[in-house]
Symmetry: C3
Subunit: 347 residues, 3 copies
């Protein structure tokens, strides 16, 4: 159930590639990788934990990567490659079986519209119907997929990839090796108004939106520009789909934001923070380095570095879990308490 | 307040079309359908429940579909069509009054860019600025709206419709009669990384994204591809706007997901499940067939088939409602309890 | 960290522009605006609250707008402009330093595809690769950015701006000065089905989607069309990114919806309502005028005008806060209560 594989390998050659040992038929051929329950005879699979050993019994795979401890687990598939870390071996093998995404050509597609003052490295791929504005800079090795709009004065670092239909508003700046999925918007106006003369007057947004090296942003996520300062996403941070980062937010390095997260304006997210799915962070807060916020939590005050917080309003995960447990026990306790109070002569 | 209607009908003809009986002037003409409080003299309206009878009193409609029980409800509009199921009759009449969306032409717009190895049925409509990659297959009757990007090796089943600006990543597979609204992304990379050598290393995503027959997906929703297996959406499932489905998720048939739902990786949603608005489902869970999850809930453990769950962390709706009720009564109870404890000599 | 400024000014001229008084060197030049902690020697900054006075001590700014009360606050920067409202002065100065977004040309880009029956004012800018359908009307002063799709019969009022990759489904109607950010979808089908013959049958959506004057809608937000009536967004309402408004919803004037908000079908949001981030509103409710709903709340019943509600299920913010406080105290109280009950002979 994966994309068409591009090559077949003998199990013996797979074993050499991952530094493992073949048990069974080293001449068996495999041409793809699949999970235990989906694998067919032409697939290699892997077993890294005894928890999934029952799935191996019925697996139709043509070969299986196993740890030394699990090498003798019973199963239909007798062709095994014994290796210390089967999951890492599987990841390392993926490029042997599947063609990784690659630029379809070098150059600028004739349908793309590039302002004459834009500076594109000779080694770029700009696909169909892209629009690149005045003064924009696109670095060596970049891959700009179809239908992207790169605004005036934007800079895109080396080896960056915009998958398709991405918008970079004027003034956005992307580092090296940034990967933006389809429909990402970088540098949209922040949500800022002052109420005057009976209307919400728009605050002009002249700040930038700066995306560091090695950042990945998921499909249809939106990162607003700053009002006067920049919104910043630090190097190595990875952001999932449908995430919103508000104006003036400063995100550190190596953070992970799962899908549906929203961060209100001017908050600071320090290095290595993990925000689970659908978390909301209010404005003007600081989430300390390496803090973890659990799924769907709403953070209304700053979180110290290294702590795990959750719930709404968020507090330490330990307190939050105690609160949930107490609420669960509450109805029964209340009934007992009502009885007790009913007998209390002072009530 | 609806789109321009395309034709007028006599009430007598409307009655024939829906198998009803005219009371009043069968020669009165109507040319559109509107709700009781919005209808004007040229509109047909409907009354299916006594709850809305007061709105009929003032309705300016030119005709009204009513049940036999409500046929004599007082109201300005005396032209009535008596029919067993007015709401169903109204739905059946819509195509008589309004032109339904239809392909503007057959063929491929000259501005579209179609790889010579793509195979398009002769009976397709591919609108302006589409980009269709190598080896893609587009079936008979398909309507690919403007600005869609169909990646390498994608297959699109018969009579599918992509409204506009849709992205299908390479390897995505769509069934028959699939309807994808503007900005849908199918097959974007899942959110998977391993931390090694001081960075979040990307796990390559080579799995597919398979969308079954008769699936509808709302505007700007995102369905990630699998890591090695496929992400699957079962036949007849309907998904609202701004929904996220993570990598390796397997969704069954005939599910309904309301707007803002997020499903984390590798969860399995069985047939007929209903997820209300903004629900989040954690990874690696199973939501049993026909289960219902109420709005904004966060599901952290698997849900048995047929049950209704809610809250955070989600549990059976009955327990959740008891919990809410208890929390509501809690402050008063606490005050009484504090008094009791204050008098307790052992405290 | 803002976009390249377009001009430099003497502090003395800045003071004249905002009606303030220079203290220090009126000949010092500034060419941009920045926050206290980010400002460099060529930047003007501002201090409006004593809370941020410590940041002025170290600020490297070349000039600072200050209130009379804060004029003597110590700091490296001795060049000050004393003015009653520094924040408003700063906003008023932005267009002096930065070029505001402006149409790059007047006319229709040769790559755009405009149906011959569409009526465009002579004074419009339609950028590259736009597609404008039959009978559409685009008013004087409009700026339609690249890759927008304007469906059949759509009307766009004067001075509206669609940033890029916006979709207006057929029949949508936009007022004057509407601003739609990248990826906004207006008029997508509502989520309506009836289950019959073993399938979710689609309810045709023939209603319109009407956006009032001066509305702004953030990136990747979606506003569904009505089923038979219109979905309406009232004049002067401002909507942030990734917001969903369901079919038949009627939103009043001057509302503010923060990012991630979702409103289910047929609800009515009266004038001046504020919905904070990630709020969900169930269907068929009324949120009364000027009500405020706090972040991440889930509204399951109608809210009276002027009230502040929060939590899930939402109730008045006062009750909600009491509930949170009670839950926080609950674990300790429970322990004491358990002890009391343990000694109760009737238990």
């Amino acid at each position: 159930m994966s994309v068409a594989p591009s090559s077949s390998l003998r199990l013996a050659d797979v074993a050499i590639a991952v530094g493992g040992t073949v048990v069974g038929d080293g001449n068996a051929m495999v041409s793809g990788i699949a999970s235990l329950d989906r694998a067919a005879a032409a697939d290699l699979t892997f077993l890294a934990s005894s928890k999934y050993a029952p799935l191996l019994a019925e697996s139709a795979a043509g070969g299986v990567l196993v740890t030394p401890e699990l090498a003798a687990v019973p199963g239909r598939c007798q062709n095994r490659i014994v290796v210390e870390k089967p999951h890492e071996a599987m990841l390392a093998l993926l490029p042997r079986f599947y063609r990784m995404p690659a630029r379809p050509f070098t150059g600028v597609h004739p349908s793309a519209i590039v302002d004459p003052t834009a500076r594109l490295d000779a080694d770029v791929c700009v696909e169909a119907f892209c629009v690149i504005g005045a003064g924009a800079v696109v670095g060596r090795g970049c891959w700009i997929g179809p239908h992207c709009v790169i605004g005036e004065g934007v800079s895109v670092g080396v080896d960056a990839r915009l998958v398709s239909q991405v918008t970079l508003y004027p003034g956005a700046a992307l580092g090296a090796r940034v990967l933006l999925h389809a429909g990402v918007r970088v540098g949209s106006d922040g949500f800022g108004f002052v109420f005057r003369d009976g209307a919400h007057q728009k605050i002009p947004h002249v700040g930038r939106c700066v995306i560091g090296d090695d950042v990945e942003i998921g499909a249809n996520s939106t990162i607003d520009r700053g009002s006067i300062d920049a919104t910043e996403i630090g190097a190595g941070t990875k952001i999932d789909n449908l995430v919103h980062v508000g104006h003036n937010v400063r995100v550190g390095r190596l953070c992970l934001f799962a899908a549906g997260v929203g961060i209100a304006g001017s908050s600071r997210i320090e290095d290595g923070v993990m925000l689970a799915g659908q978390v909301g962070v209010a404005g003007h807060l600081t989430i300390g380095a390496r803090a973890i916020i659990t799924a769907q939590s709403g953070v209304l005050k700053s979180v110290p570095a290294g702590e795990t917080w959750g719930g709404f309003p968020s507090r330490s995960q330990r307190e939050t879990l105690r609160g949930y447990a107490a609420v669960n026990k509450l109805p029964d306790l209340m009934r007992r308490l009502e009885k007790l109070l009913a007998r209390d002569p002072k009530e």
